[in-house]
């Protein structure tokens, strides 16, 4: 294999890992903190992408439209849904899954009613560069940067701020936190909004490289779910490790065959992994990490 091909492949693997981390983080926050599997995650991403489309159509700066607005808008939507639906179902895991599935269908239907079942797009704001004889998209670097920023930001938030401390304490023992004067209800609300916002960010960042349609979420959720399962209870370490493992497998198999076979390989790898490690990677190793 020529060195430039290896370089290209390595670059694509890196971009694949970053994409996986980005689309998983929002799901991981909500699952890791609240033990809720948010089946509307893909639709939150879809809403983020539509926010980016609407904002850039309205003439906003493309970077603002992609990186700033989607997390804010989708975070707000997540907040509203948490207040109106999810909060009544805490402690009933299956019911929250069903309710978020209902929300997912509802959002698909709503966006279809508003925008129609057509594929839209946003133009990529940056060009390409060359690795030897091959062209590679500079936008992949944006994705890597966004994923790193999201991971680092979340780490700093959880580790260094007072809010992060309260959040972690509430997740460990809500009653104790409540007796110390924290309102768990409000913390759950904020966590759900945070997870939704991260999903929105992923949708906004990936908008230029995906076909934006009401049902686009389905293309991402299988990979996001697999990564959360593989990662296990620790949000950041789990997402990071599982994204690296699965992103590597996915990109290599996709490179040799097709992206769909890449997804199949991902699923097979995950099913084999949970047979050995039912709690995910961080269920056994690095348990005390964040």
């Amino acid at each position: 294999m020529a060195p430039d091909l290896i370089g290209l492949l390595g670059f694509n693997v890196l971009a694949g890992i970053a994409t996986l981390a980005l689309i998983t983080l929002g799901l991981g926050v909500i699952y890791g903190m609240m033990r809720i599997i948010n089946l509307a995650h893909g639709e939150f991403m879809m809403l983020g992408a539509y926010t980016a489309v609407a904002a850039s159509d309205a003439g906003l700066n493309i970077w603002v439209a992609m990186l700033v607005l989607p997390p804010l808008v989708v975070g707000l939507i997540g907040l509203v849904l948490e207040r109106t639906v999810i909060r009544f179902l805490y402690g009933r895991m299956m019911d929250t899954m069903l309710a978020t599935w209902g929300i997912s269908l509802g959002l698909i239907g709503l966006v279809t009613s508003i925008y129609g079942n057509v594929v839209r797009g946003v133009s990529t704001p940056v060009g390409s560069f060359e690795i030897g004889r091959y062209g590679a998209s500079l936008y992949s670097l944006v994705i890597v940067a966004a994923a790193c920023a999201a991971l680092a930001g979340l780490y700093l938030l959880l580790r260094l701020t007072k809010f992060g401390l309260i959040l972690r304490a509430t997740m460990q023992n809500p009653r104790m936190a409540a007796s110390l004067g924290v309102s768990p209800d409000r913390i759950y609300m904020a966590t759900f909004a945070l997870g939704a916002g991260l999903a929105g960010l992923a949708g906004g960042v990936l908008a230029p490289i995906s076909g934006i349609s009401p049902a686009m979420g389905a293309a991402y959720i299988s990979r996001a779910f697999i990564t959360v399962l593989g990662g296990g209870p620790a949000i950041l370490t789990g997402t990071g490790l599982a994204s690296t493992l699965f992103g590597f497998i996915n990109e290599l198999v996709s490179f040799k065959t097709t992206p769909v076979i890449g997804d199949v390989a991902l699923l097979v790898a995950a099913v084999l992994l949970i047979r050995v490690l039912p709690q995910g990677i961080t269920g056994r190793y690095l348990r005390r990490s964040l």
Partner: protein, 363 residues
């Protein structure tokens, strides 16, 4: 003093009575519908029947096995495709019908082995089954082009397989069934599957499955292996879903990757939830009701069907999580209690008709 029930007395036990009533009404519909409905109505009813059987498969594994299978559409699709590929290759539909049951069962056995023997949590099972159906959808979607063929059958990618030959009389490939014949086959097998599931639930195996749903640790301590029982129940459910897929392919003469889709998996969950979890009648009624509503809404073109389904799902989870059939039954029971309570307050209440089986398996 209690005496062992004589066979005649066993027949008039509430559970047997409800069973006989259900089978009788099934048979009435089976033989009555062709006299009442025209061909269009009959074909529509056949579609409902296929969905009702699909709902039964979900109602069994979810309501009695306690396994959250969120990707039941995977088995529906596998069954439909197995039938289509089989019948296009063989010409005769006898073996393909068995293929439609066996292929999903084997697939469920393989998947279930990793899930149940990995001892992953219920939520993870939901996520994995969901993911499997999504990935099967994507996989079958990419099989367009003549290089993707199994024997004579081109898989056709997104467009699916058109012109699937209908069922024929067993062993007689020239004698294909007309729409009325398909109706008899579909509704007849629904009645048979219902009876089969009632028999399973009344058997020792079914009681262990329900016991595991109620308390897995306790069942294990008594000496049953929950992994094995869950796996077998999962496979039975997959086989029924596969048969539903076969009927579905017969109903339209056509199958496409949408049978694997998320909407299909969501729909069947909604059928069961609306009808009533932990009953067998509920999923059947839920399927017919929701399918009918979907068709009506589609004809009126008022709201997007996804929006409607989502609203129904959220509403039921929040407000009526037990489903319509149990709610109706409780209403009838309460009414009966009120009436009999007024007449003879002192007499303790015995079990009401229809509660003997359901009461044991429902919380």
């Amino acid at each position: 003093m209690t005496r062992p029930p004589s066979p005649l007395r066993a027949l008039v036990r509430p559970a047997s009575l409800s069973f006989l009533a259900m089978v009788a009404s099934g048979l009435v519909i089976l033989f009555g519908a062709p006299h009442v409905l025209d061909t269009f109505g009959l074909v529509q009813m056949t579609g409902f029947t296929a969905m009702a059987m699909f709902a039964l498969s979900q109602g069994f594994i979810w309501g009695y096995g306690g396994v959250m299978s969120f990707g039941q559409a995977a088995f529906l699709g596998l069954g439909g495709y197995a039938y289509a590929v089989g019948v296009l290759n063989m010409g005769d539909s006898t073996v393909p019908v068995f293929l439609a049951i066996a292929v999903p069962m084997l697939f469920a056995g393989l998947l279930g082995y990793f899930m149940f023997y990995g001892r992953i949590s219920d939520a993870y099972i939901g996520v994995i089954t969901l993911t499997v159906s999504v990935i099967l959808f994507q996989l079958v979607n990419t099989t367009s082009g003549s290089q993707y063929r199994i024997g004579e059958a081109e898989l056709g990618g997104f467009n699916g397989i058109p012109a699937i030959p209908a069922l024929n009389l067993p062993g007689d490939a020239g004698n294909q069934l007309d729409p009325e014949g398909i109706w008899y086959a579909a509704m007849g097998s629904l009645v048979v599957v219902y009876m089969f599931l009632r028999a399973i639930l009344a058997s020792r195996f079914g009681r262990v499955v329900v016991a595991i749903r109620e308390n897995e640790t306790r069942a294990q301590l008594i000496g049953y292996d929950p992994r094995l029982y869950k796996l077998l129940a999962f496979m039975i459910s997959a086989g029924i879903a596969g048969l539903a897929g076969c009927l579905f392919a017969n109903w339209g003469g056509f199958i496409s990757p949408t049978v694997f889709g998320l909407t299909m998996s969501a729909q069947v969950i909604i059928f069961v939830l609306v009808g009533g979890l932990g009953t067998l009648l509920g999923p059947i009624l839920g399927a017919v009701l929701i399918q009918w509503l979907t068709i009506e809404a589609g004809a009126q073109n008022v709201i997007d069907s996804n929006l409607g389904l989502g609203a129904i799902l959220v509403t039921f989870v929040l407000l009526i999580p037990q489903g319509l059939v149990p709610v109706a039954r409780n209403l009838v029971l309460r009414l009966g209690t009120a009436l009999s309570g007024r007449r003879m307050r002192a007499k303790p209440l015995g079990p009401a008709p229809g509660t003997a089986l359901a009461g044991e398996v429902r919380r």
